[in-house]
């Protein structure tokens, strides 16, 4: 042993991906309930808070504890509690503490309305080790409640925020940009800048997904009506044009999409999720019943072992996908994925026209495509990416880098 043989240092906060275990589980998403006390106009999953049928089907605290223990045994370091609204469960504290006692970090997605004094005390005493992520639907009662459609919800949300702040519990905020609250966007971003953990402008959901369970044509029609046109998506990017252009260009250059019919190049299965009723899904969004496993009947390890080869083998069969998406070099920019395809069309490989239009608009904005050209017709995509990479290299350094250089 040397003088500094012992060494205590901070461990990486990134979820670890196992290189040795055939069954990999660095992170598990857990959807504690689909019920939510908000009734947001754009939501793709929520069920009413008093939905007795949904409640009766939900896993018990004891079953969740078993699943968390399995996740820890599979070396997961992080779990995400989401929903619905996870704090709607009366036994949330019990489940949360079990996760923490297993040595799991917890990412909590919440609207903060049910963040009572008692629960805030719990998070202060037993920190989740990841910032709580609070969804913000407006900065005033009128705008917030035009989205949440629940009277009094803004006040409860704001009380929850105050409880986090009083106890200095780390949290970040994110939004959903809708016609009902767009007037609050500047105020939201200004406020977010004052929060200690917000190091960049808050992310705002813009490309709304249809109902993931394909359960409501009426709600789908409403969601479609809320979707911004591709030009409006670009207008959102223009709000922080330099930052957005830079990060999107870097993203595209790091994740080019070689031609492939593989349907799951996205990492589905590496970070699976368990829904409120005990179904293990390849990811949080893919609800196709033929791709889920009941973890009440099958251990997670076995479910993942069965899932992995299926995901690797699955290729697109539909000609529209093979002639377009499979050849498209901007797939990394596109929200198209099997989960979205399933919620829109009931198949895994039907191109979703809306996402395609948005991705092409983004590519034009980045200078990757001229007007009118389709990305799947580009014969030398590498040249385009390389040209963009060289533009990144010659561009002015990021303001934060400039500061570092000055120092």
């Amino acid at each position: 042993m040397s003088t500094h043989a012992y060494n205590i240092r901070k461990a990486s906060r990134r979820a670890r991906r196992s290189s040795r275990n055939p069954v990999r589980l660095p992170h598990l998403d857990i959807e504690l309930t689909e019920r939510c006390d908000n009734n947001c106009i754009h939501c793709s999953i929520n069920r009413p808070p008093q939905d007795a049928q949904a409640r009766a089907r939900e896993l018990t605290a004891s079953e969740w504890k078993g699943i968390l223990s399995q996740a820890a045994d599979l070396q997961a370091l992080t779990v995400r509690f989401t929903g619905g609204e996870p704090l709607l469960r009366d036994d949330f504290e019990d489940i949360y503490l079990h996760a923490r006692r297993l040595g799991l970090r917890v990412v909590l997605f919440t609207n903060a309305r049910n963040l009572t004094e008692r629960r805030a005390d719990l998070l202060a005493r037993h920190p989740p080790l990841e910032p709580v992520e609070v969804s913000v639907y407006g900065m005033r009662p009128a705008t917030y409640e035009a989205v949440s459609r629940v009277r009094g919800s803004f006040r409860e949300f704001w009380n929850g925020i105050r409880r986090l702040q009083t106890r200095r519990i780390p949290f970040i905020v994110k939004g959903a940009l809708l016609p009902q609250n767009v007037a609050d966007q500047d105020r939201f971003e200004t406020w977010a800048r004052t929060l200690p953990r917000m190091r960049r402008p808050p992310a705002s959901l813009v490309l709304f997904s249809l109902r993931e369970r394909r359960d409501s044509p009426a709600r789908n029609a409403r969601i479609r009506a809320l979707r911004p046109a591709p030009e409006a998506v670009i207008a959102c990017l223009e709000r922080h044009a330099d930052d957005n252009r830079r990060s999107l260009r870097e993203f595209c250059s790091r994740f080019p999409s070689p031609p492939s019919r593989a349907l799951f190049p996205c990492g589905a299965g590496c970070t699976p999720s368990v829904d409120a009723y005990g179904k293990l899904q390849p990811c949080l969004s893919l609800r196709d019943p033929s791709w889920v496993y009941d973890v009440r009947a099958v251990p997670i390890r076995e479910a993942l072992a069965r899932l992995a080869p299926r995901l690797r083998r699955k290729t697109a069969m539909r000609s529209s996908y093979r002639s377009r998406c499979a050849r498209c070099f901007i797939r990394g920019l596109c929200e198209q994925c099997p989960a979205r395809s399933w919620s829109e069309h009931g198949t895994l490989d039907t191109p979703v026209r809306y996402y395609c239009h948005v991705a092409h608009a983004q590519a034009r904005w980045l200078g990757l495509l001229p007007p009118g050209e389709k990305a799947w017709n580009v014969h030398q995509p590498k040249t385009r990416i390389q040209r963009m990479q060289s533009e990144i290299l010659h561009a002015q350094p990021h303001p934060s880098r400039r500061r570092l250089q000055t120092v």
Partner: protein, 103 residues
């Protein structure tokens, strides 16, 4: 908390942390607030630190740990004492250890 670490003292991991081995690496996960500098810190030890940690079992005295490791690492007792006591101080400062028996 006492600053003095006696060679006949016995230590064990605190109930305020969870020690996990992930991919062969020891990760110390705080269970309560105030263990790290920030609320979201995780900690890890290098291989030598890990060897010390594994012996902090609530039964083995500090003296015995030093003797065992000095033998294993072919180090002088003085050097090993510095290393072991140094790590114990760090861990006690961060409330990751508790003393279980005072001689």
């Amino acid at each position: 908390m006492r600053n003095l670490i006696l060679l006949d003292a016995v230590y064990k991991p605190s109930d305020d942390i969870v020690a996990r081995t992930i991919e062969g690496e020891l990760i110390i996960v705080p269970l309560v607030a105030g263990i790290g500098d920030m609320e979201d810190d995780l900690f890890t030890l290098n291989a030598s630190g890990n060897d010390i940690w594994r012996r902090l079992d609530g039964k083995t005295t500090v003296r015995r740990i030093i003797q065992d490791l000095a033998k294993e690492y072919a180090a002088t007792p003085d050097a090993m004492t510095r290393d072991v006591i140094g790590l114990l101080r760090e861990l006690l400062k961060r409330r990751m250890l508790v003393e279980t028996r005072v001689p």
